[in-house]
Symmetry: D2
Subunit: 297 residues, 4 copies
């Protein structure tokens, strides 16, 4: 039925398309890392561009590539979601001979072992995000991203409450020393870094950077004293979403001092405010170069 | 094309169906209440049952009824989402002559004016839920439901933290008087009551009952002192999700002492724990009669 | 800090609670089946009831059990999500000595190998649902459920369109033989069966029953001829959502003739209508006994 | 409590933030248009940037502005969601004196009257999207966007099926004239145009352009003959997602010939494939200038 290749027909007065492909493909993916196999359920989107003169993109080639690559993943020890995205991206340009651009996006739940203060071990859930983009003739760019749920306690409410308590009941507490109450809440923070193909950025490192920038990480298991410890830690380390984003930016500069200025960075922190029905949000879209500039970073 | 009524055909060896209908219908609805018009965007599902001998249900009649009733709503001063659901329910039985059961479900965002401690006025969002069910020959039952977002502060962590602070720094605070820190978070509580057609239950009252049973209601606008006030109030009124559900049950008994024992009540409270990535949840499914029984309620 | 067991305190004038627990716990689960390890990412809710005289439920015990059981799962060859839910359920009653009821719910993406007409192999995504409930002193009940996406083509529009084409252009087609056009769409069908602990129901069988009751199953990879085959098959097998539910009920009676009358069955089919912005829906909630009754099933 | 303005504190070694604000604010909005009041329930996000030397953004000012503007909206006959977004955007720069950038995003369900072929009137749901952005000292840019659900029938499967039927049963149908079967499905298409403040683009026009570029629009009410008409129309007008996007681009060029080359346009079309569990997707991100260039558009 070769003559029925409707997609391949020439058209006139067409327009180029930026992305044509498939979205919402669900596949089990195995990532081999440090001798440990991570079994992920990935949600995948893949796209190529389409020239103005061609009627359609061959969508079924996209699924063929995903299927082959993900089997290949099992055999070939894929190291990361972003490496897998990169391999699919290259193959997209191979098989869509008319395309000059390819893009792959992936997302998956991911788990890491954590320990509480008193030594309980708990497997904590995170989200991995990966993206690979390639322009024919140029190298591949890959994005490594993580989403981390944690906790923020508000520094502003803490001061106002202390002031209010002191006015109402002078001498009740020593505000310089006593940890003071505030509103605190679940916070969702996203960190994404885009680097050239052969530069390695570990998603696990990004997760650690985010966890270390919140008022406190959170844990599935918290026995009574561990719970009190997390609450105290968070209140001794109150943070606006602005603080969370800035602390992450500072840590990125230290951790990735060897990466080029052109590396793109996106950080977003959203606190599901306990005192409001809406969320507080802060974001920085930038490059390592901008962050390194002393005068206005 | 009457002969093309495929739905109406007789079949053999069929099975009765409990619910056949349409889901996800979106319509603007106007509810007239206390002289004020509430313009709601409702999400609507409607169903009838289907006897074992008939091939299909006439789905388009459902949409016709919704369309007529919602226009009628504009003209006839519909009092509430549940009254509208009830009217649609009756009409479903009229036009699906083969049906013995009809059910209508609705959900909509809803807004009420609230005031903060210092007098700021703020329009707060809630969710209304409504359901009407009718069995041919029997009366109509209607369900009035609300979803309210508010705040809970944990009573257990508060005691453990106080204890831990006193052990670490004896004399730092007077724990009998000083409000102490805890984790707090956004809480989503749902309250639903099912009553016979002519019994009136005001959704606004249900919202007030839920707001009064949380550690604190929450507000869109909170200037600095109002924010401190909400935080202090919540910590002076710490609540497990268990407490929230029980306090609502107690208030329902007082408020609805005139309603019959057979009235069904569902209360669910879910706290989006700031110290965990999962939620805490409590629920009671019951009747007013069970709640009124002294020995085991 | 045993004296700080706030949950354990006695209260007066309390109310029993139907379900108290945690929701939205995410865990990697390994299910061993027919010599193959299925790595699932499960979303888990667990609950126990709470007597009227006790202030709170010990939420952290729930997480401890999940953690231990899921590690145990790796070691002990858990056979299915519902068996795992059952084990957690029993342990909940062990450790919440005050509880008389326990309930566990799980959901996970799941994959099965399928072949297209021309022999392509494709890994298709489904959803598994599991629930276990136990009342102290009574046995365990477990629910096995699946969600399957497939395709329905409308039988009514097909006849009306044929009629319309024949009126407009008599003789254009031989309507008794030519497959005729209709609207078709993605359909999501859910099948759930609840059985006593030691009765085995295979989720894979339930998936096959649903796939065989749609106008056609759907596939990730469809080369040109396979795509035409699926489209033709679906149009030669047009189905209302009512038909899908009834065909599943009929197949359940055949497949599970050995199961007791008391077994509960829920079937729901929802077509995301291509000609409407809303969905068509059919449901039957019943028992095998009711389905077996000849006079009114 | 002015001295407690924690947000206003000077910090060292800070970083600029691109967006700081609140997300998920829900408000009822009234838009006056052609003498008709549209009551919308809007979901709103607002942001300003933050200089590197300032600790925090004053989040509560954002809510104050929204509240005032939306009340003002009632009084002042706001013409559109994007005009309201623009007004809020300007006020954000007024009250956040340290900000150089402001951004407002809104989304709401929206309804328009439509007629079926046989004259039934039906209120169809769409989504409105609006965005306004302002850089201090520069003018305002506003984005007008719509999301439309409709129907696509696949041109490729149609040809393959015809070929297959002719091979199996030669002479069964006159393929040059008979409409032939294919898979068809719900399609969600988004069209967004960004223009300077004083340029008017009507959301209703954008909705019409999208509806006219699908295989067929869809309707809530479809009596039997109208349903057949929609199905026939769609199959006589089969469309890939690529075709949908290109047809919209062509219509935009005609409709907006008077708008400057710099105007940004985004078109996305996603078909919820009835034969797959994943979606087909096409997108063009461009400017009117690029679309107008003859050689490579």
């Amino acid at each position: 039925m070769k003559h029925l290749d409707v997609q391949n027909r020439r058209i006139e007065n067409g327009f180029r398309l930026t992305r044509v492909g498939i979205t919402g493909v669900r596949k089990p993916v195995v990532v081999q890392r440090n001798g440990r196999a991570n079994h992920l359920t990935a949600l995948i989107d893949v796209f190529v561009d389409l020239p103005s003169s061609q009627k359609g993109s061959h969508m079924s080639r996209n699924v063929e590539i995903i299927t082959e690559m993900i089997d290949e993943g099992v055999r070939k020890d894929v190291r990361s979601l972003e490496d897998l995205a990169g391999s699919i991206c290259k193959e997209l340009l191979e098989r869509h001979e008319y395309a000059s651009y390819a893009e792959v996006r992936m997302m998956a739940d991911y788990f890491l072992e954590r320990s509480t203060a008193s030594g309980w071990s708990t497997l904590e859930p995170f989200k991995l995000m990966a993206r690979a983009t390639a322009r024919r003739g140029n190298g591949l760019m890959k994005l490594v991203g993580v989403e981390v749920a944690g906790m923020t306690a508000c520094p502003c409410a803490m001061e106002t409450v202390t002031h209010m308590v002191q006015e109402e009941s002078p001498g009740l507490l020593d505000a310089r020393k006593a940890p003071m109450i505030s509103h605190n809440q679940r916070n969702i923070t996203t960190l994404m870094i885009e680097v050239p193909e052969h530069v390695e950025v570990e998603a696990d490192d990004l997760i650690s950077i985010v966890e270390g920038s919140l008022s406190s990480p959170t844990y599935g298991i918290l026995k009574r004293e561990d719970e009190a410890r997390v609450v105290l830690d968070a209140h001794r380390n109150p943070k606006f979403v602005e603080d969370v984003v800035r602390d992450i930016l500072g840590k990125l500069l230290q951790k990735y001092s060897g990466l080029p200025d052109s590396v793109c960075v996106t950080v977003r922190s959203e606190s599901e405010e306990s005192i409001h029905k809406h969320n507080a949000f802060a974001e920085r879209d930038t490059t390592l170069g901008e962050l390194r500039a002393v005068e206005d970073r």
